[in-house]
Symmetry: C2
């Protein structure tokens, strides 16, 4: 069976699967420019740190393709930087868009300094580098899957099959394809090592029940949905072997910001002697920030908690606290941080030389 593909890009035509309509309907919507991308990211039609960055980059590539080349390379640089800065504001917690933006601005600066490149060539080079984010992320995810699965299989070598718990959505719907934490689970399934994966609902936005469950059913991976409140009971009753989650941003010391609820899964995993892994592209590691205290945590609208569609699920007038993310301290990441470059203990992280 083909793996689910949620971001489609061909020759400057970008379409994304509208995740707000899942699981009821599988509908693709066109993204013509960075304004469309910003709105789709903010409205969560696309979510997941890698997917957000890719859709942002591809939306700029699509827009640049349609534009005549500016008069000067400086003007091109200014335009690109302005659009990227705007895209970064769509969701503040994940670092991926910011890193992609920095890399692109750096490329612009290099091209501007290079007298042998004219403005049209510079524009083409920027477009190509933005477009490459899709294939690069796919390749990274396949590598994450392989590294993660082999590390976990080594740790559980005495067992025929294992049980994994995961949170939120980190699969084809959150990345260019295959996924990070869910990529590791796909690789474990391919290796016939997976007995069952337990996915949490992931309130209040139900990324687990709507999206992860959708991917697992789609690819016939043996799976069971649990409520967020059932994680500890499931660890105890089903003797779960490992928890694998994604990351929106990893600090230099390994502290990890991820979907709200991740921190408590890590606490529960520790107290049940269950391995806890973070799976993310190396670009999610932000060596600029020393630890998790400096990661900004987005607060999201109360309506996510008080309503499901038009149905009110909370009493009128109740105050809500709706942080989108929390920070898991490095010492709770007992399994390690799985990247395309290998699996690292939090204290082994080092910036690329």
């Amino acid at each position: 069976m083909a793996t689910l593909q949620a971001i489609k890009y061909n020759d400057g035509q970008l379409e994304i699967l509208d995740q707000l309509l899942l699981p009821e309907s599988c509908t693709f919507i066109p993204i013509f420019n960075v304004e469309d991308a910003w709105a789709a990211i903010r409205e969560m039609k696309v979510r997941g740190a890698p997917a957000i960055a890719i859709v942002g980059c591809l939306s700029l590539a699509a827009e640049l393709r349609k534009l005549a080349a500016p008069d000067t390379k400086e003007e091109l640089c200014r335009l690109v930087k302005e659009k990227l800065d705007y895209l970064v504001t769509s969701r503040p917690t994940a670092v991926n868009t910011q890193l992609a933006a920095e890399a692109c601005v750096k490329l612009c600066t290099q091209l501007t300094a290079n007298a042998s490149v004219d403005v049209a060539e510079a524009k083409d080079a920027v477009v190509k580098s933005l477009e490459a984010t899709l294939a690069d992320d796919m390749a990274d995810n396949l590598a994450i899957g392989e590294h993660g699965a082999s590390a976990i299989m080594k740790k559980t070598a005495t067992k025929d099959k294992i049980r994994i718990l995961t949170h939120c959505n980190t699969g084809s719907l959150a990345t260019a394809g295959y996924g990070t934490a869910l990529g590791v689970i796909r690789s474990l399934h391919k290796a016939s090592k997976l007995d069952q994966v337990y996915c949490t609902e992931t309130r209040p936005y139900n990324q687990g029940s709507r999206l992860t469950a959708f991917e697992l059913v789609y690819e016939k991976i043996p799976a069971t949905l649990v409520c967020d409140s059932m994680a500890a009971a499931a660890m105890k009753q089903f003797k779960i072997d490992a928890v694998i989650v994604g990351a929106d941003r990893v600090a230099a010391n390994g502290d990890t910001a991820n979907k709200i609820g991740t921190y408590q899964l890590a606490v529960l995993a520790k107290s049940h002697d269950v391995l806890f892994y973070v799976a993310a592209p190396f670009s999610s590691i932000d060596f600029q920030i020393p630890n998790g205290q400096s990661i900004p945590i987005e607060e999201r609208p109360h309506s996510e908690m008080t309503h499901t569609g038009s149905i009110r699920t909370a009493a009128a007038g109740i105050n809500c606290w709706n942080p989108g993310f929390d920070v898991t301290p490095a010492e709770l990441i007992t399994g390690g941080i799985i990247t395309e470059k290998g699996v690292f203990k939090p204290d082994q992280l080092a910036p690329p030389q």
Copy 2:
């Protein structure tokens, strides 16, 4: 402001607030007999261990009032026992209905053995004892509130105000009125000791967001709704002082069956150095069972997890695990078990002499 009253009984007329319609609508429905009560309990129009037992008892009282006295006291006994056995089958986890049934059957047997009582007098005595459950529970809850609040205020004497986290609904909507865990919170609020109460959504049935939030807004108690996945983040960020939950059944050693999610709150409380209390009428303690392993755990329909009203919130075809309850080991109940007879450490529980 008057406390919310969800069970109304006058001269054999029983009405209950249909909790399935909350928070959208506040509608009372009549209960004419034990069949009506059984269906209302099964459909969760009324829930909460004490409320279930009271509605069961009052439905039988209402039915008996309308019946002509049977020919013999033996026949009365048989009839009462049959109806009570049937009521016990409506929800298997809570012990309250079973204990109320046993007490009523014992009374029937005593009345039958007492030659000075005729069958009409026996019927009246049974009706009166069934009707007394409402006022008795209310008195118990007020005592639970006082004992709990004073124990917690003693433990937190150095603080001006405290923050409490609670789970599920244990208030006026789960009891005859005032509540158990929520009764303690009401008493803390009355004593001006409460800074804020955090109530969990309590998935999948949203008893926290629909019912507890409704009561807290109704009585203007300062409150914030959090998702079940946010409990640990809230404990850390808001420095919560104590978790207080109810109980469906407490084993002789203090192990406590309560709404799914309670166990993990207890684990999280322990790891965050937060006091953990269970509040329940003494009748919730089942000295017949030595520990939590013997408490039957009801599994509930998958549709509770896959749909909110008519809206599908989980991918079609996904398998679900939906236990209604979990068991919290006694050693995690660090604060104690608050009853109308006082606050007990789990290892101090002893059957009434």
